[in-house]
């Protein structure tokens, strides 16, 4: 399951997709629209994608993880269109025989999706909008998002 969708994400369906008799652990990540970015109040975001390529890249990411972590199952759903604060933009679920692989594969999956899937986020503030540019280096959680130069 590697899909770009426009409707609200069905987290349960991703969890069901990666479950199974051999799975001892299912790890799930939800990417959620935040209210603040670099001190500006976000009123909404829009995600835009190159859907055919995005699904292909997500599928490849899943394939590579299944090679490196034998026995896992992977599901990825990315929502596009206009989303409000608090809505979920991304679901990644990994089922694995043991929790160590589930956690490890989940982290890699999310990092690789954010690095290479052709999807773009535009943030809307009360006084304008900006396309996001990802940080050049380092941990995104600490660097945060940066705006494109005008």
């Amino acid at each position: 399951m590697h899909r770009i969708v426009v409707e609200p994400l069905d987290v349960e369906s991703a969890v069901r997709e990666v479950g199974g008799a051999g799975m001892g652990g299912i790890a799930v990540f939800l990417g959620v629209v935040r209210e603040f970015n670099a001190g500006r109040g976000v009123v909404a975001v829009e995600y835009h994608a190159y859907p055919a390529m995005a699904e292909k890249v997500m599928s490849r990411i899943g394939e590579a993880l299944r090679q490196d972590f034998p026995g896992i199952r992977v599901a990825m759903l990315h929502r596009i269109g206009r989303l409000a604060v608090g809505e979920t933009s991304l679901v990644v679920a990994i089922g694995a025989p043991h929790r160590r692989e589930a956690f490890a594969a989940l982290r890699l999956a999310v990092d690789r999706i954010k690095q290479s899937v052709p999807v773009w986020k535009k943030e809307f503030y009360s006084d304008g909008s900006e396309w996001l540019e990802p940080p050049a280096t380092g941990d995104e959680a600490s660097a945060g998002d940066r705006e494109l130069p005008p």
């Binding site: 990417g31 995600y47 835009h48 994608a49 190159y50 055919a52 390529m53 995005a54 292909k56 990315h78 933009s89 991304l90 999310v110 999706i113 954010k114 690095q115 290479s116 899937v117 052709p118 999807v119 773009w120 986020k121 535009k122 396309w131 996001l132 540019e133 990802p134 998002d145 494109l148």
Partner: protein, 81 residues
């Protein structure tokens, strides 16, 4: 040869175009397609040369040759997730 170029996000906004059909000489590369695109759509010339590109749904370097009927895409830095 004719190729179809897709533009996304900020490139789409800057140019006002989603799709541009280009005629290129045999032997042209992805980088040549960007140059030709900037001739046709001058507003794109402000963007770094050339942006991240894809050819038939695969990331492609500027030196990669293009073929008749290819779908080329020029992609700003991705920010999904």
């Amino acid at each position: 040869m004719r190729v179809r170029v897709l533009l996304f996000a900020r490139l789409r906004e800057l140019s006002g175009r989603e799709i541009v059909e280009l005629d290129l000489e045999p032997g042209a590369t992805v980088g040549d397609a960007w140059s030709r695109l900037c001739e046709l759509v001058p507003s794109l010339a402000v963007f770094p040369h050339p942006p991240l590109a894809a050819r038939n749904l695969e990331y492609a370097a500027p030196g990669e040759p293009v073929g008749e009927g290819d779908e080329i895409a020029f992609l700003p830095p991705v920010s999904g997730g």
